[in-house]
Subunit: 128 residues, 2 copies
DNA sequence: GAGATGTGTCAGAAATCTTTGACAGGTGCC
DNA sequence: GGCACCTGTCAAAGATTTCTGACACATCTC
């Protein structure tokens, strides 16, 4: 397949991190994993949320590269999925954000608008 | 009014910042304001979104303490609202997040659950 | 006064995110 | 086999966020 793998621009990565961390449950999940690594079911009991829900949150965190899950075999042969936190570091300042914003995909604007009639119209046009 | 003003815990503040920054439009708004301060209407034209929408986004950013708006009088007496970016700095690491998570309000859990019957039940109970 | 530009707010549609409650496997132990 | 754990996935309900299209009100210029 001659398909180029997505260049994964800086901006989108930061956006993913921010939306991943911008949720109380997800913050608590990270906090719990910093204390000590565990597997899904135990973690669900610890924070008090259902497993399907935790599963979703973990997926979001993993997609952002903040945690990593590994399927391990416990002593007795049971299959257990342990999660660890990635030692991420992310400086958040106006400059950082601005820099990231410039490499955001989904732009779709670009064309200089003819600012004729004003009124409250939104400036969107193509897109859809 | 003998009401104690909310202590505004660290955790909630960070959460607010993250959810505020975790949005492409809001990131672009910050980026635009870093370049040069402007007023609402001009900014709306610059990024290509409707004014009511921009107004909402700016409110969110201001509530998180990332930007500040000041109502100024232009030379001709027109009232214009200019926005500036706050020089915020925020280190984002597992440790930081964990620390913030411990001071999150909205907890409502706390009681150790008796893990008798298992099945897929969510661990929520009181609340609502 | 009409027209252009600025401010703000509101109700409701549209799109997303969050959450629950099943279901369908696996393995180990009595 | 039956029970207790573990894993995953799905559809649909609920709650939020995002967005649009009016509306109301100011000031300045012609």
């Amino acid at each position: 397949m001659p398909e180029v793998p997505p260049p994964a621009p800086e901006g989108d990565a930061l956006l993913k991190i921010l939306t991943a961390l911008g949720n109380p449950h997800r913050m608590r999940i990270v906090a719990a994993l910093v204390e000590n690594r565990t597997y899904v079911s135990a973690l669900a009991r610890e924070i008090g949320i259902s497993r399907p829900l935790l599963h979703m949150h973990l997926q979001r965190l993993e997609a952002a590269g903040l945690v990593t899950g590994t399927l391990e075999a416990a002593d007795d042969g049971k299959t257990v999925k342990y999660y660890d936190v990635t030692p991420f570091v992310c400086e958040l300042t106006p400059h950082t954000v601005a820099r990231a914003a410039s490499t955001l995909t989904d732009v779709e604007a670009g064309t200089a608008d003819r600012g004729t009639g004003r009124s409250d119209r939104g400036a969107k046009e193509e897109a859809k």
